[in-house]
């Protein structure tokens, strides 16, 4: 029951992150949607799989993968945003009506 809740939570994050990366108008907003999808969705899905599996060989390796993803996802997101900011990509603004 709790495992199914966590898996459902992760799939919700994945689904809305995908909708955000299709619909958003700018690099930085798309990066925000992608970062949520990476961090929260993956970790919630793996936590649900660990609870469903119980404690054995598989769940220990999933814990190692969770630790690695929590370490590297913010670094890669920051690297993309920093390179886009150094090349002077303007953030998106709503056009004013004259």
């Amino acid at each position: 029951m709790i495992a199914n809740f966590f898996i459902f939570f992760g799939l919700i994050f994945f689904f809305f992150g995908t909708i955000g990366i299709i619909r958003f108008p700018d690099i930085y907003t798309r990066l925000q949607a992608s970062s949520k999808c990476d961090g929260a969705g993956t970790v919630a899905l793996f936590a649900g799989l660990i609870i469903r599996e119980g404690f054995n060989d598989f769940s220990l390796r999933i814990l190692i993968i969770i630790f690695f993803l929590l370490l590297t996802n913010p670094v890669s997101t920051h690297a993309i945003a920093r390179s886009a900011a150094i090349r002077k990509i303007k953030p998106w603004r709503k056009e004013e009506k004259k």
Binding site: N4, I7, L11, F14, F15, G17, T18, I21, I22, I27, R30, L31, S34, C37, D38, G41, T42, L45, F46, L49, R52, E53, D57, F58, R61, I62, I64, I65, F68, L69, T72, N73, V75, S76, A79, I80, R82, S83, A84, I86, R87, I89
Partner: protein, 88 residues
């Protein structure tokens, strides 16, 4: 119909939807963001299929794939930051 089969199918469908941004993305950073997201989804699919088929070697493949995705994302973003030049 197992639960893990449903999880794998939903993740595959969202990865295919993300491929839209790779194809029509206006700049290189949009394509980089979408490729990073697809690599994260492939890691999730590999972990779920390791639990589905009871093969523990898929988990090692998922870990190595996560390492390669992280290194390639950082390398390509550093490349785009220097505009392809070697100095600085």
């Amino acid at each position: 119909m197992n639960l893990i089969t449903v999880v794998i199918s939903i993740l595959a469908v969202t990865a295919l939807l993300t491929l839209y941004r790779v194809i029509v993305g206006p700049t290189a950073w949009d394509r980089l963001i979408a490729v990073n997201l697809i690599s994260s989804k492939v890691v999730s699919i590999m972990v779920a299929s390791a639990l589905l088929f009871k093969r523990s070697i898929y988990m090692d493949v998922a870990l190595v794939y996560a390492v390669i995705g992280f290194v390639s994302t950082v390398a390509i973003s550093k490349y785009l930051e220097r505009e392809g030049r070697k100095d600085k």
